[in-house]
Amino acid sequence: MQKALEGRQVLDLSDAGFSVEQTVLLAATDISKSFNGVPALLDGRIQLHAGSVHALCGGNGAGKSTFLNILMGLLRADGGTMVRDGQVVSYASAAEALADGIAIITQELSPVLDMTVAENIYLGREPRRGWFTDSAKMVADARALFDRLKFKIDATAVMRDLTVAQMQLVEIAKAISRESQVLIMDEPTSAIGEKESETLFEAIRSLQAQGVGIIYVSHRLTDIFSIADSYTVFRDGRFVESGAIADIDRQRLIGLIVGRDLRDQEPRAEREATEAVIEARNFSNGGVFTDISLSVAKGEILGLYGLMGAGRSEFANALYGNGPKQSGDVLLRGTQLIIKHPSDALRAGIAMVTEDRKGNGLVLPASVRDNIVMGALKRFSSFGFMKAGEENRAVDAQIERFRVRTASRDLAVQNLSGGNQQKVVFARCIETNPQVLICDEPTRGIDEGAKREIYAFLSDFAARGNAVLMISSEIPEILANADRIIVFRSGRIAGELTAAEATQEALVHLAS
């Protein structure tokens, strides 16, 4: 670490074509990186000023995470230059970057699951008395931090017991607590609700006021327009454009990211409520969800909205046979089903896109192909043997349809970018030919282009006489896609709105 710091040279920034009027906290040019000979990043560039929130935009697999991991010393670049406070640096490890005032919230959360929240936050810099950790101070500090950030998390809870959303908040708190000058946030809001996002934005604004520079990655353009002041766009591993948010509109930004014109999403046609495809009756489980009854009609997309921890995911998992319930009946087109295991659900034609793609969505070390067909192995086999040709054709079709950016169908999904992994989860569910699709945050981390593909698919899927139950914490998404919205509050149904009557205010009002 010492070596890296000593090895800095002073560089004339004007040579590199940077403006030197403002304090440049961090700049990088020509950063490149390939994996197994496949380039992931060809020309990564950024210039981050003090007190700026800089949005890094790009489609799934554009190389954003790769680039940010390189800045942080988590990956080694193949080439390129990085300048920190006017000096050329190259970090061999995250420890060096941390020591140099850079912190990151990585896209792939990787907490130490068996440690407490406080221990996770102060990992590697535990408050100490001599050689000993000062646990009391650690917990007190963590509590103070959560109070300041207005996050409602128990500092002494064990990480394993938290929801993905809570883990994401812990990760955010951890990065913020480092009080670094440069803060990298790789999709910090993909797992959390609107309310928590708002709290995060407040925190970001206050950091900004203290002169911290923030690199912010998100596929939620609304977020970007509400907090970022400048942007950089990557496409297919290359730098495309950089500028001030004030100088660009949403439409053009999408164009830059996607690299093609996107047709506007067609508003969903009004439709008559017909017979129910799936009906859930009296679902309860402890206090997590209580007495939930709902049904989804043929051709309908039913949205489930609620604040973080409202119990939507728990309910959906119970419906799918993937989680505990104390009571509850399921009827599919009027016949009662007994669902004790996801295989029962799948056999009946119910598929589910789970919320936590790493935890119970994907088999990370398995290939893209194996994951996509995993739910529908029977269909691609005869007498127990896989039919390779049919299987590959189906997989290729899915890769094509959702533009999964992968070097090959044999690549392990753990090597895909976050958004592309999510597309694989979605593809796997579709491949089971369901008549009911339960989607828990289906577009988490997915870029604008692919989102539209998914929306179009859902709309089309429903129109073919199927049913969709869509859980989303993104209000615009749910407003644009659902025919009817049920709102959860503390494990109970707080109300129901039709597409026509639903507005952002109405949803938030019902949910809190």
């Binding site: 993937n322 994907l362 088999v363 127990g384 070097a407």
Partner: protein, 325 residues
């Protein structure tokens, strides 16, 4: 168009990179093989190759079973004892004046092995006992049971028909080698081309995701131990036929060799990654080291040192190729 072309060449590169890195252990084996061929003129003789293959077949059969278990993220320490128990059972059936049909004895050995495997499988899959503890307990229990039923003494005088299983030849190939080859090919086909194979990998890769995809994860885990047990029973029958009596102390420490073969072959102890083909390479590396050092007349003390060093070196070669890519 350009993009597409570029992508497919990328894909080729990616595949190539992966292949090279995974063949590091094959390379290590080839290096070892070539060195030994030069070091001793008889190493490459038909006699010796036959020899080596026959010697590795027991560990080979066990290692194939162990590949199933380790792929699901488990481990089975009990196989040495289960092998001994099954051997005694087979031996008891074919000893004395009125020996049973040897096929019956083999079937009994396989059945008994499968039974032990089923207990392991139940403990692990149903009762969620850590595989290490469950099978360690079974190691102790099966050995005790073996000694008990045999009263600590070998079962001698096995019928010649039965001994053929360990000592016979078919078309110049030793019967144990044929058995191993069969087991290997079947395992390879099952793991590579069947639904069940996909299940095994999925369960080992992420049991919760496998469940979400509708895979009967408990059953799959259970079955891996069942297969392992059955193969340990089969290996027990062959070993008994080969040593001409059923020995209650047979198979001591065999679990370590089987696990080593699997792990040297690069199958991850965490589960979900690996292949029975590389297990074969691991089995051959271990077998060839032992054979080669015996041929070269390396003394007992040095043999252990050299053997350990070669195993580490082989994996280092594998690793360093991996790191390059």
């Amino acid at each position: 168009m350009v993009e597409l072309a570029q992508k497919s060449s990328e894909a080729r590169n990616a595949r190539f990179g992966r292949v090279v890195s995974r063949y590091g252990i094959v390379l290590a084996f080839l290096i070892l093989f070539v060195i030994l061929s030069f070091a001793h003129q008889n190493f490459l003789s038909t006699g010796n190759i036959t020899n080596v293959l026959r010697q590795v077949s027991i560990n080979g059969i066990l290692a194939v079973g162990m590949t199933f278990v380790i792929l699901t993220g488990g481990i089975d320490l009990s196989i040495g004892s289960v092998l001994a128990f099954a051997g005694i059972v087979a031996g008891a059936l074919v000893t004395g004046a009125d020996p049973s049909n040897p096929f019956l004895a083999v079937a009994a050995a396989i059945g008994v092995g499968a039974l032990f495997g089923a207990v392991n499988g139940l403990l692990v899959a149903r009762f969620k006992v850590t595989a290490f503890v469950a099978t360690l307990g079974m190691l102790s229990m099966a050995r005790g049971a073996t000694l008990l039923i045999s009263d600590g003494r070998p079962v001698p005088n096995l019928s010649a028909d039965f001994r053929w299983l360990g000592q016979g030849f078919v078309a110049g190939i030793p019967v144990p080698v044929i058995c191993f080859a069969l087991v290997f090919v079947i395992a390879w086909v099952v793991l590579r081309f069947t639904i069940y194979g996909r299940w095994i990998y999925a369960v080992g890769g992420n049991v919760r995701s496998a469940r979400t995809s509708g895979i009967p994860t408990r059953m799959v885990t259970f079955s891996a131990y069942l297969i392992m047990g059955a193969l340990a029973g089969f290996a027990g029958a062959i070993l008994t036929a080969r040593t001409t009596s059923a020995l209650p102390q047979a198979g001591l420490g065999y679990e370590l060799d089987a696990i080593a073969a699997v792990v040297i072959g690069g199958t991850s102890l965490v589960g979900g990654v690996g292949s029975v083909v590389f297990t074969l390479v691991g089995v051959l590396i271990i077998g060839v080291i032992g054979n080669g050092l015996d041929l070269l007349g390396v003394s007992s003390y040095y043999q252990q040192i050299v053997k350990g060093a070669i195993i580490v070196a082989a994996v280092l070669i594998d690793r360093s190729r991996n790191a390059q890519s």
